[in-house]
Amino acid sequence: MSVIQTIAKADSHPSWCPGCGNFPILKAVNETLDAAGIDRRKLVLVSGIGQAAKLPFFVDKPANLFDGLHGRAMPAATGIKLTNHTLTVLVTSGDGDMYGEGGNHLLHAMRRNIGVKAFVHNNQVYGLTKGQASPTSEMGFETKAQPHGVMSLPMNPLAMAICEDCSFVARTFSGDAEHMKRMMRAALDTDGFALLDILQPCVSFNRVNTFKWYKDRVRPIGDDHDPADRDAALKLAFTWGDEIPIGIYYCSERPSFESKLDVLKDRPLVEL
C-alpha cells in the first residue's frame, strides 16, 4: 500500500505567494550582500517563524543560517554574535515575530546594542497563520480573529527604538528596490544594533495596506533631516497616515555591546 510520504517534489522554493512583497526584499538582500562584498561563510542569517522568516532559505548564494523559534530570533542572534563577533549576523523576520511574540527581546537588544542587524518585514498582519492582526495592524483592521476590527493602537517600533537610543533606525518599502538596498547597506555598515522596518504588502491577507496603499504614501526623508537629532527622528516616527517617511530616522554613536567586553578583545569566544 502506498503511504503518502514523499511530497518533496511539491515543496517548491520560495514558498511565498506570487506578488508577495517578500520577493523584492529577498532580491534586495541578495544584491546588498553582494554589493557589500560579504563573505557568505562569515554570514549568519537568523530568523524566527513566519512567512518573512523563511527568507534565509531562499537567498541566492549559500550562507549559514539559524531559523529558531517564533519570536526568538534576537536572543539566538545575540548568542551567535557574542560567540563569534567576527560574523555578520543578520536577522530577517516578520512583524509578528519581532514586535509581538519577540517584543521583549527587541527592547532589550536595543538596550544592549548588540551588533546584530534586524530587517523586519512589516506586512501589518500574521501571514503564515492566515491573517490575524499583528502588533502593527491598524485600528479597525478586520480578520477572522478580530471580526470587529483591531481595537488596540498599532505599536510604534521606530519610536521605541529611537527612545532606546538604538544605533540605527530606518524604514523602507519593498516597492522601492534602490531605497531598500541603500537602507540595508547602511544597516549592515552600522556597528551596534540596527533596526530596519520594511513595509511589505501581503497580497493574501492584508487587503488594506496594499502595494498601492504604501506606494501612495511613502515619502523619502529629505536630506535636511539630521539622524542624530532625536526630536526630529521622533517626529518622523509619529508620521503615519497620508504620508509615511522612509529613510534613516535615527543614528546614534553608541559602541556595540560586544566591543565593551574585555574577554572578546583578543579573539572571538569560539576560539578561546
Binding site: 500500500m1 502506498s2 503511504v3 503518502i4 510520504q5 514523499t6 511530497i7 517534489k9 511539491a10 515543496d11 517548491s12 514558498s15 511565498w16 505567494c17 506570487p18 517563524i49 512567512q51 523559534l69 517564533h70 519570536g71 509581538g100 511574540e101 517584543g103 500574521y126 501571514g127 503564515l128 497563520t129 492566515k130 490575524q132 492582526a133 502588533p135 477572522k144 480573529a145 478580530q146 471580526p147 493574501s204 491577507f205
Partner: protein, 560 residues
C-alpha cells in the same frame, strides 16, 4: 460500501471550497460522510488534498487509497496517482496537470466550463462538484438544491449561477456518469462539524466567557470559531501578545469569575507551563485546548501527531493535580471540552484537552450538537463573608470559591500561602496546603470517564487495540475489519488519560492474548503510562509519526 474522493492541488486553488460543497451536499442527502485535510505550511502552491469518504453506514476515519482523484496541479497527479485504488478515476483540470495525467483520465477546463455555464471563474469549484456528483451516479437535482440553499444569502443571481455550474458539471461527465459505484443515501444527519468547531461550540455553550490565545496551527480554528460566535454567546475573545499572556489572562479571568479557555499547540503550550503551575497553586479552573502537531520545536506545523501527552501530564514545576482528556471523535470533543470545564470548576484546578490537527480539521455529519447556552456550574460560593478564607483546608481539598466584588475578600498568591491566601513561609501551613491541593486528584478521579470498549460486548476478544484521542476512528475501523475477517479483536479507547481510569482499564486488559497500543508518536506514551500505572508490562505498539493520521489500513498492516 464506501467511496473515497481525493481533491488535490495547490494552496489557494479553492480545494476547500469544492470540498466543503461536496461534504455539505453529500450530508444533506443522508450519506455518511467523513472528510479530512492534508496541507502544507504555506499560503500558495505546494500540494494539499482534501479527502471525502462517503458511505451508507457511519464512518469514523479516512482511508489511504482514493477511488476518485480530482487533481488541479501537476504534483497532485504525479504524487497522488500512486495512492489510488486499482480502478480509480482521475479528473484533471489545468494544462500542466493534464500533461502529467494518465491517458484514461478525464480532463476538463473547469474555469472555461464555469464561464460557459454563465458563471464566474471561481465557480469552477461548483463545476468540479457537479462532475463528481455525476461520476458517482447521484442525481444533479440534489446538488442543485443544496447549492441554491447554500448560496441563497449571496443573492438569487449568484445562487442561480452556481446551480447552473453544478448542472454543467453533471453534463460534462457525459457517459462517465455513474462510472463509480457509490453508496446509496442513507439517513445520516445533515449537520456537519469538525473537531475545531465542536470544541469551540462546546466552550461557548458551556459558558466560557473569556477566550484568549496566540494564533498557532492547528488550534487557531477553535479560537476563530469562538471569535465568530462571540457576540451570540457574549464572550470576550482577545488575541494575546504571546502565549504567556494568554494563560495569565486566563488565570486573571477565572480568578475574577469567568469560565476561561485558551487554545494552543505544542510550542505555545510550552510557553504556558509556568502559568499552568500558577493555576495549580492558585486553584483556578483554567482550561487549555492543546491541539497537537509534530515537534520538536516548529516541526511540521500543519501535520498531525499525538506527541504531547506526557509533556502535558507533567508540565509545570512543582506538583499539583490536573485532568487530561483526549477525545476520539467530533462528538466526544464537544462532550469533553464541556467536561474539562466542569471538572476544572468542580476541582478548582487546571484541565487540558488534547486534540490534534487531524481531529481539529476532520469533518463528519452527526446528530446536531446543542447550541443553546447551558452553562456549567461555576461552583461559586455566594454566601462568603468578611471572614472568607479562599484556601480553607477541607476534607475533599476543594475550598469554597468566592469571586472578588462581593462581601468576601478574595486573596490568592503564587507563593505558598495561608488559608487566607496570604504569603507564608510557615512550613506546617505549606504541608497542609500541599496535601489539600493534592487531595483534589481524588475529586477528579470520582468523575473520571470510563474507557470505551468497542464492540461493547467484546469482553473476551483476544486482541485488544488500545488507543487515545483521534486514533479512535482508525482503530475502530481496523477492529471492524479484523472481526469481519473472523478475528477476535476489540478496541479500548481511553478518552481520559489523567486521572487514569485504572480499575476499568485493568478489567478490560485482563486475559487478553494480545494488547497493542496504537499511538501517533515514536515513544509509546500511553504504553509507558499504562506501564507506570502497573497495568501492563512491556507491550506491543503500532506507532505512526510521519505527520499523517492513522487509517485502518495502516494499523492492519502492522498487526498481522
Amino acid at each position: 460500501m464506501d467511496v473515497n474522493i481525493r481533491i488535490a492541488g495547490e494552496a489557494g486553488q479553492g480545494l476547500l471550497t469544492t470540498g466543503d460543497l461536496l461534504v455539505g451536499a453529500f450530508s444533506s442527502m443522508g450519506l455518511h460522510t467523513f472528510a479530512s485535510k492534508s496541507y502544507m505550511s504555506r499560503i500558495r502552491g505546494g500540494l494539499n488534498w482534501f479527502d471525502i469518504r462517503i458511505a451508507d453506514s457511519e464512518l469514523f476515519a479516512p482511508r489511504e487509497r482514493a477511488d476518485l482523484l480530482v487533481a488541479l496541479s501537476e504534483p497532485a497527479i504525479e504524487i497522488l496517482s500512486q495512492t489510488l485504488t486499482d480502478d480509480a478515476m482521475v479528473l484533471v483540470d489545468g494544462e500542466e496537470a493534464q500533461e502529467a495525467a494518465p491517458p484514461e483520465a478525464m480532463a476538463v477546463d473547469l474555469t472555461a466550463a464555469a464561464k460557459d455555464a454563465g458563471g464566474k471563474p471561481m465557480m469552477a469549484n461548483t463545476v468540479a462538484a457537479g462532475i463528481v456528483f455525476a461520476l458517482l451516479g447521484y442525481d444533479a437535482d440534489s446538488l442543485d438544491a443544496y447549492v441554491r440553499k447554500q448560496f441563497a444569502r449571496m443573492g438569487e443571481e449568484l445562487a442561480g449561477q452556481n446551480a447552473a455550474c453544478a448542472r454543467k458539471g453533471a453534463e460534462l461527465a457525459g457517459d462517465r456518469a455513474g462510472r463509480i459505484q457509490a453508496p446509496r443515501p442513507a439517513d445520516a444527519p445533515a449537520f456537519v462539524t469538525d473537531g475545531a468547531s465542536a470544541a469551540g461550540l462546546s466552550a461557548a455553550v458551556a459558558g466560557v466567557k473569556f477566550a484568549t490565545a496566540y494564533p498557532m496551527t492547528p488550534s487557531t480554528a477553535t479560537f476563530q470559531y469562538l471569535a465568530k460566535v462571540a457576540d451570540k454567546y457574549g464572550i470576550v475573545v482577545e488575541q494575546a501578545e504571546d502565549e504567556i499572556a494568554a494563560i495569565n489572562m486566563g488565570c486573571g479571568a477565572t480568578y475574577a469569575g469567568a469560565p476561561a479557555m485558551t487554545t494552543t499547540s505544542g510550542g505555545g503550550f510550552a510557553l504556558m507551563t509556568e502559568g499552568l503551575s500558577l493555576a495549580g497553586i492558585l486553584e483556578l479552573p483554567v482550561v487549555i485546548l492543546l491541539a497537537q502537531r509534530p515537534g520538536p520545536a516548529t516541526g511540521l506545523p500543519t501535520r498531525t501527531a499525538q506527541q504531547d501527552f506526557r509533556f502535558a501530564q507533567f508540565a509545570g514545576h512543582g506538583e499539583f493535580p490536573r485532568a487530561i482528556y483526549a477525545p476520539g471523535t467530533q462528538k466526544q470533543t464537544y462532550e469533553l471540552v464541556r467536561k474539562a470545564l466542569a471538572d476544572a470548576h468542580q476541582a478548582q484546578t487546571p484541565t487540558i484537552v488534547l486534540t490534534d490537527q487531524f481531529l481539529q480539521d476532520a469533518q463528519k455529519n452527526i446528530e446536531p450538537l446543542g447550541d443553546e447556552p447551558d452553562p456549567i456550574d461555576r461552583h461559586i460560593a455566594t454566601d462568603a463573608g468578611a471572614d472568607y478564607r479562599r484556601y480553607a483546608v477541607t476534607k475533599s481539598g476543594v475550598s469554597p470559591r468566592a469571586i472578588p466584588g462581593g462581601e468576601a475578600f478574595v486573596r490568592c498568591d503564587s507563593d505558598e500561602h495561608t488559608e487566607e491566601g496570604i504569603i507564608s513561609e510557615d512550613l506546617a501551613g505549606h504541608l497542609a496546603q500541599q496535601d489539600k491541593r493534592m487531595r483534589k486528584a481524588d475529586v477528579l478521579a470520582e468523575t473520571v470517564l470510563e474507557p470505551e470498549l468497542y464492540p461493547a460486548d467484546a469482553a473476551d476478544a483476544e486482541t485488544l487495540l488500545v488507543c487515545w484521542g483521534s486514533t479512535y476512528g482508525p482503530c475502530r475501523e481496523a477492529v471492524d475489519v479484523l472481526r469481519e475477517q473472523g478475528g477476535s479483536a476489540a478496541m479500548l479507547h481511553i478518552a481520559q488519560l489523567v486521572p487514569l481510569p485504572a480499575e476499568p482499564i485493568a478489567r478490560h486488559l485482563k486475559n487478553r492474548m494480545r494488547v497493542v497500543c496504537v499511538e501517533g508518536n515514536c515513544t509509546g506514551q500511553l504504553a509507558a503510562w499504562l506501564s507506570e500505572s502497573g497495568l501492563i508490562g512491556e507491550c506491543e505498539t503500532v506507532l505512526r509519526y510521519d505527520g499523517l493520521c492513522f487509517t485502518a489500513e495502516y494499523i492492519l498492516e502492522r498487526i498481522d
